[in-house]
Every structure is written in structure tokens, then in C-alpha cells.
């Protein structure tokens, strides 16, 4: 949830009440939380995993884990970060599961040899390729920070890692994306690693 999208105090109180009720075993309250968050969770999972099917499974698994584990949540105000942590863990599990089957698949692709008037689209393609080369951990930092607008301490909290690690991952990931954008134009042919 980005800073701009954080609920007002009144909305926050309602949400807090829902979390407390869910923690106490109220399925309707949890259902309301799930309905409120599912689009955002699905967007994050899709961005991180780059696969709609995997994202679907990850969100489903994350919400079920959240339902089961929410009684152990001690601070209801940290529900959002806690939920994103569960989502990223579920996404990682799904990614590993799928990667096992795709390990032998190699993709050969042709990159345009000269700049053209669709450079913006090319940039997006290169971002896609560069992003896919990142680990799930690094993708998660970028998505939580740049898409959700979480601060770096919030990202660190959501991922359960130290602030310094979150910053380090972010700079590493952005550096890798920059390198991908700068390098792609120089390569006539690129083969993705298996």
C-alpha cells in the first residue's frame, strides 16, 4: 500500500477492527480484508513472478496462510507488511516449484540491431528481460518500493530483512536493470540462461 493509498484514520480504524476480528477467528472479517487486498496482492505477485498462473497460485496460498497464521500476529498495525511478507514467501515457493520444470528450457531471441522509433517499447522489453534475470528477492524489493511506494524500512519489515540488506538489494537490482538496458543495444543476439 503506497503512502498515497494509506487509509485515513477512520478507514484505518475499520481495517484495524477487521484484523482484530480476523485474528479472533472471524471469517467474514478476513474475507473483507481479502477482498480489499486481493487486487493489490495479485498485482504485486504478477509483477514479481512475471507469470499470471504462478501469481494466482501465490496469492491464493498467501491468503490461506494468512488466515491460518493471523492469530499469531501480535501487532495488528503491522498486518499489511506481514501480509506482503507472506505473499513474497508464497511467491518464492511457487517460483521454485515452477523453475524445476523449466530448468531445461532455453530461449533464443533476436534483438533489433539498430535503434528505431519504438525505442520506448524496446526499453520495456529490455526491462522485462533484465527483471526476469533478477532473483525473486531482488524483484520483490523493486516492486514493493517502486510500485507499492513502501519506504525502504517498510520494505525491510515486509521482507523480514535488515534495512541495509533491503537497500543493498535495491541498488543491486537497479544496477542490474541499468546494465541490461545499456547492454542490450550492443548485442545482436542474446541467449537467456537456462
Amino acid at each position: 500500500m503506497s503512502s498515497a493509498e494509506r487509509p485515513t484514520r477512520g478507514e484505518g480504524d475499520v481495517r484495524r477492527d477487521l484484523v482484530e476480528r480476523a485474528r479472533a477467528g472471524d471469517r467474514d472479517a478476513f474475507a473483507q480484508l481479502a477482498a480489499d487486498d486481493v487486487d493489490k496482492l495479485h498485482a504485486v505477485a504478477t509483477l514479481v513472478l512475471r507469470d499470471p498462473d504462478l501469481a494466482h497460485d501465490a496469492v491464493q496460498e498467501a491468503l490461506i496462510r494468512a488466515w491460518r497464521q493471523v492469530p499469531a500476529l501480535r501487532d495488528v498495525d503491522r498486518f499489511d507488511g506481514w501480509l506482503y511478507r507472506i505473499l513474497i514467501h508464497a511467491a518464492t515457493d511457487e517460483f521454485r516449484r515452477r523453475r524445476r520444470y523449466e530448468a531445461a528450457v532455453r530461449e533464443v531471441r533476436v534483438v533489433p540491431t539498430a535503434a528505431d522509433d519504438v525505442g520506448r517499447v524496446d526499453d520495456r522489453d529490455e526491462l522485462e528481460r533484465g527483471f526476469r534475470r533478477l532473483s525473486i528477492d531482488h524483484r520483490a524489493v523493486i516492486v514493493l518500493h517502486r510500485y507499492l511506494g513502501l519506504s525502504m524500512p517498510e520494505v525491510a519489515n515486509a521482507l523480514g530483512i535488515p534495512d541495509g540488506t533491503a537497500k543493498s538489494r535495491y541498488h543491486h537490482a537497479m544496477g542490474a536493470l541499468r546494465a541490461a538496458l545499456e547492454a542490450e543495444g550492443r548485442r545482436p543476439l542474446q541467449e537467456d540462461p537456462a
Partner: protein, 403 residues
């Protein structure tokens, strides 16, 4: 492109374009359908208290288990009559739990996995020698949390109870018959050599190992109904295992204060199933212990030992059947839950990376995120470690002999 702000604008644009606006409608529907029947995982059954400001540093490690009651299960008819069924794989299968499902994986072909039944939220901890039954333990991994100035570790509502699930193996695969026999109070155990009985241990005030028939009946305390050991009832945790080659039962006690070995002592003891040949505290082990399992030939035992103050990280060890020759087999991560291959040549185990939580006083608790542990096998001497890729057991596993 070299400017960071420019790159971030590109990334922001790309993410905005790539993000789907809405989740598919069936996603939420599926989730709501499932949580309608899935119970929550309640915590506070176990408590870790500290006397110092850091868990286990100067204070005692104590936890109190709320003994949960489990509704009795129904014993199904054993369906093992008829012609012998062909074996599936020479090395058998490794059974494990993932959420509500009980699965098996072929360790030689990790892509070959099958759901064999409902897990009842319990992990397989041992298989009968003939592969016809599993012993299950509903002790889920849990995330510690800080409350009221102390660390707590949650456990499920249903522990401690062991349960026995029947298995059926034939040429078409392996599945559970899905009827359970509950062993209330049990925390860890294994089958007798003929598979007709189970030896199991309990936590806390109940002394020593128990034996019970797999089809039910009254459990019998191997050491007698009355506690006869000094300080009996004090052990924090017990783990029992029945030798697959004899009537010998080995068990581990982890003591708060052992009368002989002192503070936080793990000891290994032996006794025959009829209560004779008692050999208590044959050896003191260097830390918190658990996951005790005999090798198929009865010559060794595997277990995990955690030498750190916080009970982590644990590593896999083996020890000879006379209590000598303790040796460490693993060195990485937090490695637990050994299980022997049917021929005794390999040991499977779960390994996870530790995550740290910081408490209100700045103390830290480290744990393995539930479901993140990976399954490995290694040769019985600790060499030739192999990852079984894509398998993340929620707890202990059991290597099942194929018939």
C-alpha cells in the same frame, strides 16, 4: 541511461503498465471457499520463558505444553490381504506434509510426487517396516513472537498427539486409507520391528517411553506407572525410537536440570520394551536434541542436536547403538528431521535458513520460516549431499520402503 532518477522513472512506468488492475474473480472465490473449511493455527500452547534478558543465555529454557485432547479416530480394516503387490521403486518414497496434503516424492526422481491423502495437519515421522503405515505428528513449525517480555512459540491446537495412518501400496501407487489411530500425549516415536506396536515419548511430566498397539488399546509405560528416576517428570522433551532389529527402545531426554549432568542436558537412554535392561543416561549429548531414528540395521541412531543457546541451528548427527561414536554429518543451515533410507545407505533431512526476530528488549529469536525448509539426502557418512529440488516439507519426513 546512467541517471538513477531516469532509470527509476522507466521502472515506475514499466511496473504501472505491467501490473494487472484486478485479480481474476475466481481467485477470491477460491480463497473464501477454502478458508471456510480451514481452521486457524492457534498459538500459545507452548511458552519459552527467560530469566535473563536474552533467551537461554543465563536463564532457564522452559516451556509448558498445554496438552490438547484429540477426538478418537477410527481404526480401519487393514487391507493387506491378497497377492503381493509389485514394488514401485527400489529406494521407496519419502513422505512429507505440505499444508493439508500428505505427499510422497521419489528421491531418485524428484519430479515424481504424489498426493497420497489428507495430512490432518500432521507430519510423517516414521514408517512401519513393511511400509503399510505411517506415524504422524501434528507439531507444525511455528514462528516465534514476543509478548509480555518473553518469547513464545506457537503450536497447533492438536498437539501433542501421535496418529497412525494406514497406507496402501500397489502398482498404481501409494495412498492413505485415511483412517487414523490417535496416541494421545505422544510427541515422537516409531514402530516396533513387526509393525504391530509403537514406542513413543511424551513431553513434560509423563515419565519415559510408552508402548501401545497400533490398533489401539491402553498405552503402557515402559518404565512402570510410577516415576522411578530422580527428578522424573522434569525433562522438557522426550523422543523415543524402537530398534527395527530388537526390542530395544532408545529415548532422548532434554532436561532443564539433570541430577547428574546439570543445566540443559540432553541424554540418551535405552530400555527393552518389557522394561528390562534399563540403561539410563548412557551418554550426555552436547545440546538440545531431537528427531531420534534408528538405522534399518539397528546399528546406529540419527538425530539432530542444536548446540546454540537458542536451540538453533541444529545439525544432523549419528551415534552408535551403544551410545558411543557420536559424529556430526551436516554443517549448513538448520538441519533436522533425519530419516533413513530402507537400505540404510542414505539419510534424508530438512534444511532451512534461519530468520531472526528482535524482541522488545532487543533480544533475538531465530527460527526457520515454516514451509521454507528444503529436503536433502546424503550418504550415511554425511557425504554426497543431494537436494531434492522443489520439495519444501512443512516438518519431519519419513522414508517408506516400497514393497
Amino acid at each position: 541511461m546512467t541517471d538513477m532518477a531516469d532509470l527509476e522513472r522507466h521502472v515506475d512506468d514499466w511496473l504501472r503498465v505491467q501490473a494487472p488492475a484486478r485479480a481474476p474473480a475466481p481467485l477470491l472465490t477460491n480463497v473464501l471457499d477454502r478458508i471456510a473449511v480451514i481452521p486457524q493455527q492457534r498459538t500459545v500452547a507452548a511458552r519459552l520463558s527467560v530469566t535473563g534478558d536474552r533467551l537461554g543465555r543465563s536463564g532457564a529454557l522452559r516451556y509448558v505444553l498445554l496438552v490438547a485432547l484429540i477426538v478418537a479416530a477410527i481404526v480401519a480394516a487393514l487391507l493387506f490381504a491378497g497377492a503381493p503387490r509389485p514394488a514401485l521403486m527400489s529406494d521407496g518414497w519419502i513422505a512429507y506434509r505440505k499444508a493439508d496434503a500428505l505427499l510422497v516424492v521419489d528421491p531418485d526422481a524428484p519430479r515424481v510426487r504424489r498426493v497420497i491423502g489428507a495430512s490432518h495437519r500432521a507430519d510423517p515421522i516414521g514408517a512401519a517396516p513393511h511400509g503399510a503405515a505411517l506415524l504422524l505428528r501434528p507439531h507444525p513449525d511455528a514462528i516465534p513472537f514476543w509478548q509480555d517480555g518473553t518469547w513464545w512459540i506457537g503450536r497447533g491446537d492438536s498437539d501433542p498427539v501421535l496418529a497412525i495412518a494406514r497406507l496402501e501400496i500397489d502398482s498404481s501407487g501409494i495412498r492413505t486409507i485415511d483412517e487414523l489411530t490417535a496416541l494421545p500425549g505422544g510427541t515422537w516415536g516409531s514402530f516396533s520391528p513387526d509393525g504391530s506396536r509403537v514406542a513413543y515419548a511424551t513431553d513434560g511430566s509423563d515419565p519415559g517411553p510408552y508402548v501401545i498397539r497400533v490398533d489401539g488399546g491402553e498405552p503402557r509405560s515402559v518404565l512402570g506407572d510410577e516415576c522411578r528416576r530422580p527428578g522424573c517428570g522434569e525433562p522438557l522433551a522426550e523422543w523415543a525410537a524402537w530398534s527395527p532389529r530388537s526390542s530395544e527402545i532408545a529415548w532422548l531426554d532434554f532436561w532443564e536440570d539433570h541430577p547428574k549432568f546439570g543445566h540443559h542436558a540432553g541424554v540418551l537412554s535405552f530400555v527393552n520394551a518389557d522394561g528390562t535392561n534399563l540403561r539410563e543416561a548412557v551418554v550426555q549429548l552436547p545440546g538440545e536434541t531431537g528427531g531420534l531414528v534408528w538405522s534399518p540395521d539397528g546399528s546406529r541412531l540419527a538425530l539432530w542436536i542444536a548446540t546454540g543457546d537458542e536451540g538453533v541451528p541444529a545439525q544432523i548427527y549419528v551415534i552408535d547403538a551403544d551410545g558411543s561414536g557420536l559424529r556430526r554429518l551436516t554443517n549448513d543451515g538448520d538441519s533436522r528431521w533425519p530419516t533413513w533410507s530402507p537400505d540404510g545407505s542414505r539419510i534424508a533431512f530438512g534444511r532451512g535458513e534461519l530468520t531472526a526476530l528482535t524482541g522488545g528488549d532487543g533480544s533475538q529469536m531465530r527460527y526457520v520460516e515454516p514451509g521454507s525448509r528444503q529436503l536433502f539426502t546424503m550418504a550415511a557418512d554425511g557425504t554426497d549431499v543431494r537436494l531434492i529440488e522443489g520439495v519444501h516439507p512443512d516438518g519431519p519426513t519419513a522414508w517408506i520402503a516400497a514393497r
